[in-house]
């Protein structure tokens, strides 16, 4: 007996056949049904209850040196076939400005099903219960004297993908993602101070509502609000060259910006040069370039349970896998897809994904994270003569080759002679990627390691928003330029 999934596979197949009939050398198609729910509250009042349902088919056709891509939100066999035809016609138009032909690295042709392990379907949790969480948390925060604005959000995605390729792939995936976050803003005469929890923009992981329950927004609301107010009267972060101790969520973003994007093979090959930029890395340096200290071991692992970029197959049908990126401080791996990997002579990493049915799959980070060390935050502080602990990202900026970065955090604490002392506000630090990572000399262990999720990674034209994961633990970096002022 056929089910709805068979029908979706049929539309994908119709799209692939449409592309091949028009002359594509290879084609694949995804029918994607993505449901998204966001619930937001501000100052004890519900602000947003938003539900979005996007469904359609996107088809990719390879002709010569170019991918053609077409999509339609109309799910009929005729529309799917027409989209396939259009994808090929679009790719053929590229011949006017053609390059060398693209080829695809070989992968196992899979027919399979994958589902995110989860305990509690977030879409089955009663809506009023979810509203109560954010309304309650923001009410608690807004009752703290000095808090001007308190917001909280829950966010959930439920995505079905039916993938078919001209090489015989037939893969269905059901991915479930859940997340939450809240923040309190205190406003002074000429400044605003913000504290958020569990990190800026919230944390999202693969899994069900159990993720939200685990972070206990209402139970942390009072503390978060009080910290925001305290920041207004805190001393400014000292300036100069100091040791910096990064909390794990800030280190996650540091990894994202100064490692994750730099190791994207499409950037290294120049495919993103005009918009996102390129990379300071050159392929001939692979296996030789020192990226950081020997404590630095980075893996791109799409199989970590609960991490945001965990799945069964990427959007080219390549199995999820763990790839070494930096080993003992030396750069050894990249993020790749079938076309870029073939061009570089590397095995494909299964790292190509798209933001919905109407976007072309492209190289995206999976869970690019730092393997834990053997120290702890307490030991790091005890070993530090003069430094600043910085936690929770507030701002981020990095150049188009991923070399020069400047980050700001919500909160800092000065460390003097092995003791955490005064709170400091507006902590910022700046550096150059390989020099900064080379200065990492202490790294906390597994107990403090957490796979933070970043749900808002922008890349590509048209813009795509990616979901990436970044496991990290607190770490110390020596002699970093701190407290950059305007």
């Amino acid at each position: 007996m056929r089910d709805a999934g068979d029908e979706m596979f049929d539309y994908a197949r119709d799209a692939v056949e449409g592309a091949l009939a028009a002359g594509a050398s290879y084609a694949d198609a995804r029918v994607v049904l993505r449901r998204e729910q966001r619930i937001g509250a501000q100052d004890g009042e519900v602000e947003t209850v938003r539900y979005a349902e996007n469904v359609g088919v996107g088809v990719r056709a390879l002709v010569g040196s170019s991918w053609g891509f077409a999509s339609t939100s109309e799910l009929t066999d005729v529309a799917a076939g027409r989209a396939g035809n259009e994808a090929t016609a679009t790719a053929k138009a590229s011949a006017l400005v053609a390059g060398s032909g693209l080829q695809l690295a070989d992968v196992t042709v899979a027919q399979d099903h994958y589902e995110t392990p989860h305990q509690e379907d977030p879409f089955e949790v009663p809506l009023d219960a979810k509203v109560d969480v954010v309304v309650g948390a923001t009410r608690t925060m807004s009752q703290v004297e000095g808090v001007a604005v308190a917001t909280a959000q829950l966010m959930f995605w439920d995505t079905d993908k039916w993938f078919v390729s001209s090489q015989g792939h037939r893969i269905h995936q059901h991915l479930v993602e859940s997340g939450c976050g809240m923040d309190a803003t205190a406003i002074g005469e000429q400044e605003t101070q913000r504290r958020s929890y569990p990190q800026s923009f919230g944390h999202v992981g693969t899994g069900g509502y159990e993720i939200v329950r685990g972070f206990d927004l209402p139970g942390n609301a009072q503390r978060v609000a009080e910290e925001a107010v305290q920041l207004l009267s805190a001393d400014p972060c000292p300036s100069g060259e100091l040791d910096v101790i990064l909390g794990s969520s800030q280190l996650a973003l540091q990894i994202h910006e100064s490692v994750g994007h730099a190791i994207e093979l499409d950037r290294i090959l120049g495919w993103e040069a005009a918009f996102a930029g390129t990379s300071f890395l050159e392929l001939e340096q692979l296996g030789r370039l020192r990226y950081g200290s020997e404590l630095m071991n980075i893996t791109a692992d799409a199989t970590i349970p609960g991490a945001l970029a965990t799945f069964g197959y990427d959007d080219e049908g390549t199995p999820a896998q763990a790839v070494d990126i930096v080993r003992d401080g030396v750069w050894v791996g990249v993020l790749s897809g079938r076309d870029s990997a073939h061009l570089a002579g590397l095995p494909p990493g299964g790292m190509v994904r798209a933001d919905g049915f109407n976007r072309l799959p492209m190289v995206r980070m999976t869970n690019v994270g730092l393997q834990p060390g053997d120290s702890s935050m307490d030991e790091i502080v005890a070993e530090t003569r003069h430094g600043v602990i910085m936690d929770t990202n507030r701002s981020w900026s990095i150049d188009d080759r991923r070399l020069n970065f400047q980050f700001g955090c919500e909160m800092g604490w000065e460390v003097v002679d092995g003791e955490r002392t005064r709170m400091v506000k507006n902590p910022t630090y700046t550096g150059i990627t390989p020099q900064f990572w080379a200065s990492m000399d202490m790294l906390a262990g597994g107990d403090e390691w957490f796979p933070w999720g970043v749900p808002n990674c922008g890349k590509g034209q048209p813009m795509q928003v990616g979901h990436t994961g970044h496991p990290a633990a607190p770490a110390r970096f020596r002699n970093v330029r701190v407290g950059v002022k305007g």
Binding site: E53, G68, F69, S71, E74, T192, R359, S397, G408, P462
Partner: protein
């Protein structure tokens, strides 16, 4: 089936089918209303996006994409309890299910304190500018422009995109407001690269036919070649001439963080109405009447967009409002609601800085020692209230000495308060070269000229 009618090949100017679909969804809401004791209201938007984008890198086309998506977005209120839903599935039975679910969901909510009610009849606003040829542009037409751009620098590596877009939208509400419009946009955005440098050029118009890809390619190639032998300079405060792209980024930050009425109501905006917060040379408008303008006639709440001054001769005059903030502030909506704007608040659109009288070369000629900045990259806010931000220069940064461009410098990081940079006495000249300038947040958003500013705080070189 609604979908078959809606998706047929359309006259780009014909939004009647989208309006019919919006009307139909309003009817579905009213059917729900008839079954309930409470008062059910709704705002309905139906949009169709037909977008084609041809992307090139290493001087050849590597990605070439097309999209045709119809989206229905509905905000439902039951006795002031709101919920929002959207879908790309426009089959009647799917829409009926979604409307029923939205009404059920809304009933479970607390009362939305800022729900202003469904939009009442409010007129239609400035018509959108639309070029039918651009709306129907083919991948072949875009590829030709790519070729023109690439051919302008045969020894260089080119990268960028050419895209064309048709945006149609219809709005209907249970309060009886009905409006529809359409607009088109075409952009070429590209760089040429040497081994050590890059130079960029941008052009955006309602009409693909008005884009001169060869000229853009020549400009980008010239900037790249002139940047090839750049030198790094010491950080510090420099007099600057900012090109239109750099100015557009500054204006975007001021708009999002400062002229946003929700930020202002919450105390997070710098804006003080009636105060001289900028140099008298600065005027910033929300101006849908400009003949070059790209955009729909109305906002996400169906409110017509009108022309108003955010800043006039340096005095902050007006904030951007949607109906939610207008209700809170006892003001009128300025037609600046954005989709999902309950959280972000209203954002000015059609931002335009009127031109001054100085040609860019004249501004450069007045600089003793300073920098010419083509564009900024990866600018992020450090403090929203003071609009202090950090970012980098990109794609052409040049040293000016004794009134002449004297070679290129390496990219620099800055940390700068944007209000301060445009403050009283800080603006030395406003350029006469206003045009659509593509700041880093997208094309077709800001029309502005170059600016000559007394100081900009650079904190370091991009290379360390």
């Amino acid at each position: 089936m609604i979908s078959e009618d809606t998706r047929q090949e359309l006259d780009p100017n014909d939004t009647s089918r989208l309006l019919e679909l919006a009307d139909r969804v309003v009817e579905l809401v009213k059917q729900e209303d008839a079954q309930l004791e409470g008062d059910v209201e709704a705002n309905v938007r139906v949009s169709r996006t037909r977008h084609g984008l041809t992307r090139f890198a290493n001087s050849f086309v590597h990605q070439n994409v097309g999209e045709d998506t119809v989206t229905v977005a509905i905000t439902v209120a039951v006795d002031g309890r709101t919920t929002s839903v959207s879908t790309t599935d426009v089959v009647e039975e799917s829409l009926a299910r979604l409307v029923a679910e939205a009404v059920t969901s809304a009933q479970l909510q607390p009362v939305d304190p800022y729900w202003p009610g469904a939009t009442p009849p409010a007129g239609s606003g400035e018509p959108g500018n639309l070029d039918p040829a651009t709306a129907g542009a083919t991948p072949d037409a875009r590829a030709q422009l790519v070729k023109d751009f690439v051919d302008a620098g045969p020894e260089l590596r080119a990268a960028g995109f050419v895209d064309t877009e048709l945006e149609q939208e219809a709005f209907a509400s249970t309060a009886g407001h009905r409006v529809a419009g359409a607009t088109s946009r075409a952009t070429i955005d590209g760089i040429h690269q040497t081994e050590r440098s890059a130079g960029s050029a941008h052009a955006t118009s309602v009409s693909l036919g008005e884009l001169d890809a060869s000229a853009a390619g020549r400009l980008a190639a010239d900037r790249a070649r002139r940047s090839q032998d750049f030198v790094d300079i010491a950080p510090g405060t420099y007099e600057v001439v900012l090109g239109p792209e750099a100015v557009a980024t500054v204006l975007t930050f001021l708009a999002v963080y400062g002229f946003n009425a929700k930020s202002h109501l919450e105390g997070g905006s710098f804006a003080e109405l009636g105060e001289q917060q900028f140099d008298p040379a600065i005027t910033i408008l929300a101006d849908p009447t400009d003949p070059r303008r790209i955009g729909l006639p109305f906002d996400a709440e169906g409110t017509p967009r009108g022309r108003f001054a955010l800043v006039e001769d340096g005095v902050t005059r007006q904030l951007a409002h949607d109906r939610r903030t207008a209700g809170r502030a006892d003001a009128r909506s300025t037609g600046n609601a954005i989709p999902g704007g309950e959280g972000i608040g209203p954002v000015p659109t059609d931002v335009r800085m009127p031109p001054g009288s100085s040609a860019p070369q004249e501004m450069i000629g007045r600089v003793k020692r300073g920098l010419l900045v083509t564009e900024f990259h990866y600018v992020r806010i450090l403090d929203p209230k003071s609009t202090v931000a950090t970012g980098l220069t990109r794609n052409g940064t040049f040293l000016i000495e004794d009134g002449e461009v004297n070679g290129a410098v390496g990219n620099l990081r800055f940390t700068q308060g944007f209000v301060e940079a445009l403050g009283d006495g800080a603006v030395l000249a406003v350029g006469d070269d206003d045009r659509y300038a593509d700041g880093e947040f997208g094309a077709g958003m800001v029309i502005c000229p170059s600016l000559h500013l007394a100081g900009w705080n650079f904190t370091g070189g991009a290379q360390g």
